[in-house]
């Protein structure tokens, strides 16, 4: 699971949970796998990324040191920063671990890189 994917996941469909975002990451195995860098794609993708959630997630898995707490206005011109963001969004891969709902504590396993967000019917709010 890439952090770009994590940036979109919530546990909000669980009964009683209001936001369920961002899910806390507890990682036991993380890999970094090279992905082609494409600057326009990263800039376009960033327009929809929840930055605080990405920053927090990157820190939780040990790859957040180089990321600023806030994304400044000139980030589009800063290739060094964009490459670090590329790394955090697309190259860092959580292979084993779990996602934890910040409100209910419900855990979602990540196994073989695949987060399992399946819920049983009684957990889902109608």
């Amino acid at each position: 699971m890439k952090l770009l994917t994590h940036n979109m996941l919530t546990s909000s469909v669980i009964k009683g949970v209001t936001k369920g975002f961002p899910l806390k990451i507890v990682a036991s195995k993380v890999e970094v796998r090279e992905v082609d860098y494409n600057e326009p794609f990263i800039i376009k993708t960033l327009s929809k990324v929840d930055w605080p959630a990405l920053h927090q997630a990157a820190n939780e898995v040990g790859y957040g040191e180089d990321l600023p707490i806030e994304l400044g206005e000139d980030f589009q011109k800063d290739e060094t920063l964009l490459r670090k963001i590329h790394n955090a969004l697309l190259q860092v891969d959580i292979i084993e671990g779990e996602l934890v709902c910040p409100e209910s504590g419900r855990k979602f396993p990540i196994s073989n890189g695949i987060p399992n967000m399946l819920l049983s019917e009684h957990e889902v709010s109608s």
Binding site: M1, K2, L4, T5, N7, M8, L9, T10, S12, V13, G20, F21, R33, E34, V35, D36, N38, P40, F41, K44, T45, S47, K48, D50, L90, D93, N112, G113, I114, P115, N116, M117, L118, L119, V124, S125
Partner: protein, 224 residues
Amino acid sequence: MANSVKVMKRKELEAYLQDVEVFENPKVKLEQYPTTPHIAACMLHTICCTYDDLTDKSVVDLGVGCGVLSIGATMLGARYVLGVDIDEDALDTCSRNLQDFEIHTVDLLAADVRHLANPLNCHLHKRFDTAVLNPPFGTKHNQGIDIEFLKAALALSRHCVYSLHKTSTREHILKKASDWGVEAKVIAELRFDLANTLKFHKKTAVDIEVDFIRLQHKTDGRTV
């Protein structure tokens, strides 16, 4: 995956997709019939070359199954693909396929597609340029699931949705699209040869008529 300036030919793509492993034990309840390499290649090549909705795009594949559409989309230049499926066995097969193809830009998620259109899942909404899907037809015991897949695909995409539906449901799908305020067009009519993939098919081969449909958001935030 290397950048290719020139788009791969359809036949070449189809040849590669022959190597995608398919369902070991297809589940009737989930209507798990694989998208054949031929149909996948036709769909993806059209999406790429006629509409330019794959190269450098982010793509979501709902009901990813064994991953033939996600793999093909990546070969045609998609930068990031999220494949969602409710079936963990299918996701395992898909994951092996991705490894075999040495693709690192497709992420998989075990989730119920029916929950994704829910406004509570807003962080997923409008995050993808393009949605591709071969949904359950929703004509057996799960009526309406095709429509739920389409709703989720529209919620997650900013620009376009490409989907397959039984030709017999065409009027219904087009009516729904009109209700949702999106433009819908049947791009091609295909024949699906289900060749005993699911056990309730008693004949040796069952051809069914399928529409390849494109739905486009009327106001889209397309920037590239």
